[in-house]
Symmetry: C2
Subunit: 798 residues, 2 copies
């Protein structure tokens, strides 16, 4: 049942055929979707601006801004401007010289109708203007770096039309060493050549392999072309380019000038006549590669095949759950967009060749629900880069030449906690106990040790990295990267990391017990005691007033308490105190009250409050970020989902669902978030009380550790269909607002159609599998390839 | 006698009051001028776009592009686009809602009259449109990083006008960590705050001192303001911003959004009434600094004083020569713009804290003609960074934290040749023999040695860095930075460097003899013989066919010969073979013919030809640059002036003057060069036969080693008024086209008004000082503070 609004709509809910449409290019100018394959990511906004990056194997661009851009990691709240790289089509009517551009930029002419339609494996625009019906689609190749574009123009009017159609694809400032572009008749493509700038001779041999050409290939021979950005634009500007005033484009090359790819197609269309074009746009090493890509993707048959292949590729990102609740937006998001986003994370690793260790592990927790074998390999790779002393590197190197870059050059203290925690999800989905005994080498020692031993070494390393109070050193940051000056002198400790250590230990012990791993009882007892000791220490030193503080700085200052003017309360220590068992029931009550009072907003729960407005030198870089942005008090969804997960562990189904509901991009909030419901953003702006006007804005950043936890919450907690060593335990945690929750759970090859219904006749959960009551709610002996029907009655609250 | 053209004009020729005007914003869109002080450089183009950088002490910007720009060294052929940083004023007439922008961008409305006027210490625009006379001026502070702007609007019409005037100053994308902006009433300024992005804690302590604020302060209180770029622009775009459609700007701040500084001034003007505004724009550390800058520069009295101070500062860049030829453009350029450009180089060191050693020395050769004491200090600093083994570093570090960056991380082999060569100019101007005995330490040895010893060590190092043939190893480049793979394996040699070594030795020996330096005759004889041996070796191995080759690669391949398809002939080996004495008269004749045939163009002499169009792996990066750009066969003026200087040494006055004439930016060529005659550009596009359409375009890069040599050519050769140990030798080298050359030469405090006249009655030069015939043309006993009259008769040619 699709939502309809003048702004956006959900369409065709069904397995991998869901789409989301935006019907107005003005109200959410930055609304965007993304496509990817293992080599590239394309972020398209509704107006035609694009951010396209590919791996060679380090991230690179082939469509640039008009100036020399800094190479950087993906930034939140990306900002657009008129010459931002884009893909546009100008359309001119020769009879009246009317000119407009689709999808919307750069002319911004109001269009009769506009639809920006995001599908799983295709982004399209459906536009009507001046009696023309225009359809633009873009998709990717599966194994190559190439954008596949098509354009259809239909004369919807009653008179014959004499049109020119001009694709305009930004190539931009490629290099100060060499950049040029021209049309290559034998390729029927505009090819821009460049030399990636460098100065050191050793770089030459590396750069030799780079794809330094950008090509724009067409299926049809153009009537004219233009490859020179500045001359194309001329005096009129991008919104009214000089070159379009002439009959033809003049076939102008670029010689150490900023290239562009523009072609002209004359199209005389009778009423109802239609014309179709197909284009490829991407990077290449040389003409031979362009030729190969053209043959593989441009003619009709290969193009159809390529789209099917790409659909199939994206379709692999199917999760283990199909929801059929009474909330279509929830179904739509959980069934399609959320697993799609997880699959993207698992496949592309945030377009990094050295993903942060914690991200890599958590992103692969998401893959446990899609392709557990991928997660398995990732966990093995991760442990193979662990050091013999148990410590984990800041990033996992994905290829031989990869290097730790950016934030991975700063030592963080938390990387050892993630694998035992995320492993729980893997084992729940796979029962792959065998992996636990697999022998894996270390980065600094070829002698392999079992997976179990690796985990123990990681825990031992964590236990060793504590001060005399038993609290974990934070070094130059824990989960919170920019909290880099709490402990840079070697003394500061982290409440969160202490609690996370306890939680990791407890999780590991539970796994050992549940899966009967080969760990001595004495060892487990030792670990259990350590976790208790940590919880005690945190309680002793860091429970201040009504909530847990965030840490103690090098200056021995406890922070994240009522005594602070800013950063009074942090979300993470509360969440993880609930997870680790540090928080008593009384404490929890008080913490939850304070979270509600200080951190909750209409857009979700903030990570800290109040946001810092100036540098605090014993806390660090987080306090210098803009208030309400990223870690400085945004609704940072990664922290929010930890909170939701911890609430579920405490049986707080209503509170947990409230957090999840606010996190999911929604129709109701989209004018404030500015984002379509196709991904969970890294954050929504926080600092709700400080900067209310900006609060709620989406970061438009679809890289986030949130999603695997969100999916886990929905599968294991909301639906309560969680695997374990025996099979599948049924324990739904329906919020008050839901009285029914149906769907399908796919579990180790078994297919379980479930229907959860609230019933005031039951006092506790009643589970029936194929109509047979399961007294302990534990489904055992499920067979791969078999379909089951699961009926669950859950009692009313109260 | 000013030139007048519809395009540009020279005005008011006189001491430091020359201006150059452009009367059309369309024909030369990139035409620009520059202002600087010791802390910053402002490059303003005629349309209002700006590149402003300041030193803190590394180069930084306070007015950014709308995206995260890469930090890089100054690039040639800088490209502009609509959102390029700029300084604009929108003007709206409330009675008819007519809107336009001055100076031209971003609206590009055709203006009734337009004048972009470049003065020594001020850049201004004088515009008439819609009955308004508008004057915009910008200048700098002398010791602070601040742009001082003023705007005058005069109602030139006969009716009362109700106007709004909106300064729009780009601030741009400052930082992904934090950026915001708002109006600060107590400062009457829009202040944008940011945090320079970083991730490592050690960087924090460095960044603490950075000027992370950008302020735009006004003398008058605005009626409204806008600090949010995207919202200001809205849907209309920069060429028609939404915010200007409203009565007021709405006082909108930026919160982690791209800042801008826009103010609104309502101005109701009676006929002939005028309104004046003054603004400051620049970086600051904090509000206190902004307050201080406002007090120092914004009120009337300080503003007038500041302009006088800045004029005085720029006026210090007066050269030692005032020309009064019959060619006004030559006079204008030599008297004003050329010494101004030299003074800029000497003062700002190309906005680098680690200028390349060869640049630093040659730029300071220019200072010998302006402030020899500055050159003296620079030479001493240079030698104090020499190593005890004689080698010179790739760059000279100008402050304690400076580091070798970019190209200075690549080892070049030529840095030792420059000081003996450039020293000749210093001694000619100063006779400062004392310096030669000054004891100076080394970078790796505190025990000082005399200047003489330093030079000898440099020469010895050069003599040692040769192969068994006696040719100089090129390592990863010589003067030609990107010729980095000729010798990177340790074998390749440079013809140019071999010849430059011989020339440096000969120059040094001549200085030793002329100034009777304390060098043993045997030492001199040894050096002389070494120079002869080098010349012999170069002749033996590198004179191939009709000209000198460029070198021999690691693969033992001689290159720069007829056998090459590209890079057949290089200019430098020919020029320096003439300087070093390697070229016989016969060889010279043949070389000059080939230079004329292969390298000469209407825009000057190319550095090599044909330009490379693809990588040659035993030559290197130069072959990857765009054909005709920079070292790959442009009219690279630095190489061209070496050629002119070498021609003068051979008495080729006509050929030399032809090179100089083509090098000087001129009225005749300006539509092709795109540049106004206020500086010598780094290059004009070459590859004349390969890419004729682009040939001649100016690099618009005013950093170049050309200028000190050009000035030296004019003083010592063209005018022939060259200092020596005895005094001043008179030996003009008038080209055929000049029959008279008058002017003033300032020499060690003496002022010599000279008049050189061609006379068919003399067979050789006849010199009269204050009417007394000087038989040997050698002026001795000139007294500081005394005015002389010098009359010179020169014979006709042939």
């Amino acid at each position: 049942m699709p939502h309809k609004s003048p702004i956006y709509s959900l369409n065709n809910v069904g397995d991998f055929s869901s789409t989301v449409s935006l019907h107005d290019p003005k109200s959410m100018p930055n609304a965007c979707g993304f496509l990817w394959n293992s080599k590239m990511v394309l972020q398209m906004n509704c107006r035609g601006y694009a951010v396209s990056q590919f791996m060679q194997p380090e991230p690179a661009k082939f469509s640039h801004a008009p100036n020399l851009e800094q190479k950087t990691f993906v930034q939140p709240e990306h900002s657009y401007f008129s010459h931002h790289p884009g893909r546009f089509f100008y359309i001119k009517d020769h009879d009246n010289n009317e000119l407009f551009s689709v999808p919307y930029e750069p002319m911004r002419v109001p269009l009769d109708t506009f639809e920006f339609k995001l599908g799983s494996s295709e982004i399209s625009w459906h536009i009507e203007h001046l009696g023309l019906k225009i359809t633009i689609t873009v998709s990717l190749a599966t194994d190559d770096c190439v954008e596949r574009w098509s354009l259809q123009v239909n004369n919807h009017s009653t008179k014959a039309r004499r049109l020119s159609i001009y694709p305009y694809f930004s190539i931009g400032y490629m290099s100060w060493m060499n950049q040029s572009a021209q049309f290559e008749p034998h390729l029927n493509a505009i090819v821009a050549s460049s030399v990636t700038p460098y100065q050191k001779v050793e770089q030459y041999f590396k750069n030799k392999e780079l794809k330094d050409q950008t090509f724009f290939a067409a299926q049809q021979v153009p009537d004219s072309w233009h490859a020179n950005q500045l001359e194309f634009e001329g005096h009129g500007g991008l919104h009214n380019p000089d070159a379009l005033g002439d009959e033809t484009l003049g076939n102008v090359d670029a010689r150490f000038q900023t290239p562009v790819a523009v072609m002209q197609y004359r199209a005389d269309l009778a009423p109802q006549q239609e014309t179709n074009y197909r284009f490829l746009f991407g990077p290449a090493k040389d003409h031979d590669e362009i030729e190969r890509l053209i043959a593989d993707y441009l003619p009709d048959a290969p193009a159809i095949k390529a789209q099917q292949q790409y659909q199939d590729y994206i379709a692999q990102g199917r999760g283990c759950l199909t929801l059929d609740s009474d909330v279509p937006a929830l179904n739509d998001f959980v069934n399609h967009w959320l697993p799609r986003q997880m699959f993207y994370h698992g496949g592309v690793n945030r377009l990094s060749s050295d993903p942060q260790t914690r991200n890599y592990i958590q992103d692969n927790m998401g893959m446990c629900y899609i392709q557990p074998s991928v997660a398995r390999q990732a966990f093995i790779l991760t442990l193979s880069q662990q050091q013999r002393d148990g410590s984990m590197p800041d990033g996992i190197l994905l290829h031989d030449d990869a290097q730790l870059k950016y934030i991975n050059q700063v030592p963080h203290s938390d990387h050892c906690v993630w694998l035992p925690i995320c492993l729980a999800a893997y084992l729940a989905e796979t029962d792959d106990v065998e992996l636990m005994n697999l022998a894996i080498p270390f980065s600094d020692c070829a002698t392999p040790q079992s997976f179990i031993k690796h985990i123990e070494l990681a825990l031992d390393w964590l236990l060793g990295a504590r001060d005399e109070r038993g609290l974990s050193y934070i070094e130059q940051g824990d989960w919170c990267d920019p909290m880099n000056m709490v402990g840079y002198k070697g003394l500061g400790v982290s409440a969160w990391l202490s609690l996370a250590t306890a939680y990791a230990i407890n999780t590991w012990c539970e796994l050992c017990e549940q899966y009967q791993l080969a760990v001595a009882p004495a060892t487990l007892a030792y670990y259990r005691q350590q976790a208790i000791d940590i919880n005690t220490a945190v309680n002793q030193h860091l429970y201040v007033g009504k909530w847990f503080a965030r840490g103690i700085t090098d200056e021995n200052r406890v922070f994240g308490t009522e005594a602070d003017e800013q950063g009074k309360i942090f979300l993470n220590p509360q969440s993880w105190a609930m997870l680790s068992g540090a928080a008593s029931e009384q404490q929890q009550e008080s913490m939850l009250d304070e979270i509600k009072r200080q951190l909750m907003t209409p857009f979700g729960v903030m990570m800290l409050a109040p946001s810092y407005t100036s540098m605090v030198e014993d806390i660090g870089r987080v306090t210098q970020k803009h208030p309400g942005v990223s870690e400085n008090g945004s609704v940072y969804n990664h922290a929010a989902i930890f909170y939701a997960y911890s609430l579920y562990q405490q049986g707080q189904a209503d509170l947990a669902f409230e957090v999840i509901e606010k996190m999911m991009p929604s129709l109701e909030q989209c004018l404030q978030t500015g984002q379509l419901p196709v991904y969970v953003p890294n954050y929504y702006r926080g600092a709700y009380h400080q900067y209310p006007k900006q609060a709620g804005r989406s970061s438009h950043l679809f890289n986030t550790g949130t999603i695997s936890w969100l999916y886990r919450c929905i599968v294991e907690e909301l639906c309560g269909l969680k695997g374990n060593s025996a099979g599948l335990l049924v324990n739904p945690k329906l919020p008050s607002q839901l009285n029914r929750l149906g769907g399908q759970r796919r579990f180790k090859g078994a297919v379980i159609d479930f229907n959860i219904v609230r019933c005031n006749k039951v006092g506790s959960i009643e589970t029936r599998l194929d109509h047979q009551l399961i007294s302990d709610n534990q489904l055992v002996g499920l067979k791969a390839g078999t379909n089951y029907r699961l009926d669950v009655l859950v009692p009313h609250h109260g």
